[in-house]
Structure formats: C-alpha cells, structure tokens
C-alpha cells in the first residue's frame, strides 16, 4: 500500500514538474511573433540608413543645443519658424518625422523661452482669420497680426554612400542652422553624424 502511494506520488510529482515547465513556457514576457520594441532599440533587420534611435537622438540633441544658445538680448521672446527638412540622402525617409520630433523636443524643453511658429498650418490659419473677420466666426475684431519669424530653423540630411557586391557603407550628416530672417546671419549651427556599414538589400519604406 505504502509503495503504491509512493509510486503515485512520484508520478504526480513528475507530471507536476512537466506541467510547471509548460506553464512557465506559456506565461512568459518573452515575445514571439510580432515584437514590441523600445523605440531606441535596434530591430535586428540591419540597414545603414536612418533608424528610429537616430530620429529620437537628433530631435533631443538639437533641441537642447538650441535652447542653450546665448540669444541676442532684444527684450522679446525670439520667434522661430521651422522650415521643411530637406532629405538629400538615398534613403526614403519622411523628413517630417524628424521635423516633428525636433519641434516636439523644442516645445517641451523651451517652456516659453522661445516661440515656435506653425508655418505648416499657415493656410488653415489664414482661412480661419478670414472667416473671423467676415463675421462667420466670432472674435474677428481684435485678432492680432500673425507673428513674423525672427529666425528660420533650417535642416538638411545629406549622405556619402559606398558599396561593393555584398556590402554598403553610408555616412549621413544631419545639419541644422538658425538663420536671422532680417540679416541672414547664422546664429547657430549643429549637426549629427552616423556612419554604418552592412549588408546590401535592406529596403527603407
């Protein structure tokens, strides 16, 4: 009787251990199929072009550098219009992605020390103003003039690419300038560089 019970107990023990391992295998944080990644993390797909970590880094670094500038003391909050970023690299990257990230970091860190102008939305703003002035919408009487820019923030992406039959190398420079809109003088210039080498055949979409 005791031997029978012991045998049953051991069988159940082995079964429990197997079940544990199976259960541990299913209830886990390990990702299978679609992976959810930290936006700074490497996706493992390779490629020598712009990565999400580059976009995030550039937005953050440039914003912090711009906010650290010794601004000319005019007594008024400087107004900056961000011009569309130009992509001259061989990679199909939406420059607006970088522009939005940069602007977001600038607005977050500026805390009212700088004013940023939504030139992308200028047409919509003009239409709204016209409707206010025509009496279609209220608040048309005392609407102030639209802000003019004291500085343009201009950005470019340019690259130097090399390849042989199996490998490719890309050096990309993202450069930014703050230009005085009255004098044309460059108040600040900053850049960010990447150089990556890897297999050919990775497609950026």
């Amino acid at each position: 009787m005791t031997r029978q019970l012991l045998k049953t107990f051991m069988t159940l023990g082995v079964f429990a251990l197997s079940l544990n391992l199976m259960a541990c295998a299913t209830a886990s944080t390990k990702q299978t199929g679609t992976r959810v990644l930290d936006p700074d993390a490497d996706d493992g797909l390779g490629g020598t072009g712009t990565e999400s970590s580059d976009i995030r880094t550039i937005g953050e670094r440039m914003a912090r550098e711009i906010l650290g500038i010794a601004w000319p003391d005019s007594g008024e909050t400087p107004r900056i219009a961000v011009l569309p970023i130009v992509n001259q690299t061989r990679f199909r990257v939406d420059p607006k992605l970088l522009q939005n990230k940069l602007l977001k970091s600038l607005v977050t860190h500026a805390k009212g020390k700088l004013t940023f102008l939504a030139r992308d939305s200028e047409q919509a703003i003009i239409q709204e103003r016209e409707k206010k002035r025509s009496g279609m919408y209220d608040q048309g009487e005392n609407a102030p003039a639209m802000f003019g820019a004291d500085y343009f923030l201009k950005g470019e992406m340019r690259s130097l690419s090399k390849s042989n039959t199996s490998e490719v190398s890309d050096y990309i420079v993202y450069s930014f300038q703050l230009i005085n809109t009255e004098t044309g003088a460059i108040l600040w210039m900053g850049d960010y560089e990447t150089k990556k080498a890897g297999d050919t055949g990775v497609v950026y979409q």
Partner: protein
C-alpha cells in the same frame, strides 16, 4: 489520503511555475549579472555585466550650471569594435529623476576612447546616472 495527494499536487502546480521562473532568471542574472558602479558624481548601470566589462566609463564631466553639458568618456577594453547604446539620467540626491535622454548609439574603436556629450541636461548639484546597454537586444 488520495485527496491529500491531489491537493498537494494542485498546490505544487499552482505555486511552482513562478518559482521555476525565478530560478531560471536568477541563474541568468548570476551568469551575466547587472552591474552598478557607484562614484562621487553618480553611477554607471549595465543591465548585463558583460557590457560594463567590455566598455568602461573612464570619466564623467559636468558643466555645473542649469542645463549644462554632461560629457562621458568611454574606453573600449576589447580588441573588437564595440557598439552600444548610452543614456543619461539626472537624479536629485533623494533619487528622483529630474531629466533623461533617450538611448543613443555609440561606437568605440578597439582599445580606443571616445567622448560622448549630452548638451543641456545637467542641473547643479545633481547626480548623473549613466546607462549602458548592448546595441542589439537579444
């Protein structure tokens, strides 16, 4: 008696899984343990100790002003090119996180040094926490 065995069996199944996982992850941590090195200016944290073993933080310099620059000097102790990600957190004395950067890619030549800077982040009197992790997360 049989009911007692059955009850024990169910308890083992219900409670054992987490313990097995704790043992597994504990073993993983023991093999490649996280490392935190403490200095006067703050600390260096590597989620995997092998990263800290390969690339060391030689020094950290701070501009002791509001929104000052933090410069981190890295040294590659290996004979291969090291690629890693670095981030910086600014923390108050009580440990509260005041500011942080995203992880940024950095390459260090074999046996070489590189200075990586973080503009506009430091706050006077604060501690710096340097976070290092592998470029590719396995």
């Amino acid at each position: 008696m049989k009911n007692l065995f059955l009850a024990s069996f169910l308890i083992v199944v219900a409670a054992g899984c987490a313990q097995v996982r704790y043992a597994e992850t504990g073993l993983g941590q023991a093999i490649d343990n996280p490392v935190t090195q403490t200095y006067d200016w703050g600390e260096v944290h590597c989620g995997r100790g092998t990263i800290c073993a390969e690339v060391e933080v030689l020094r950290v310099d701070m501009e002791n002003t509001e929104n000052g620059k933090v410069e981190v000097t890295l040294h590659n102790r290996t004979d291969h090119q090291s690629g890693l990600q670095i981030a910086v957190e600014i923390r108050a004395d009580n440990g509260t996180r005041l500011d942080s950067t995203p992880y940024q890619n950095v390459a260090v030549e074999p046996r070489g040094e590189t200075v990586f800077d973080f503009p506009g982040i430091y706050q006077p009197g604060a501690k710096v926490r340097v976070l290092l992790r592998a470029l590719a997360q396995n």
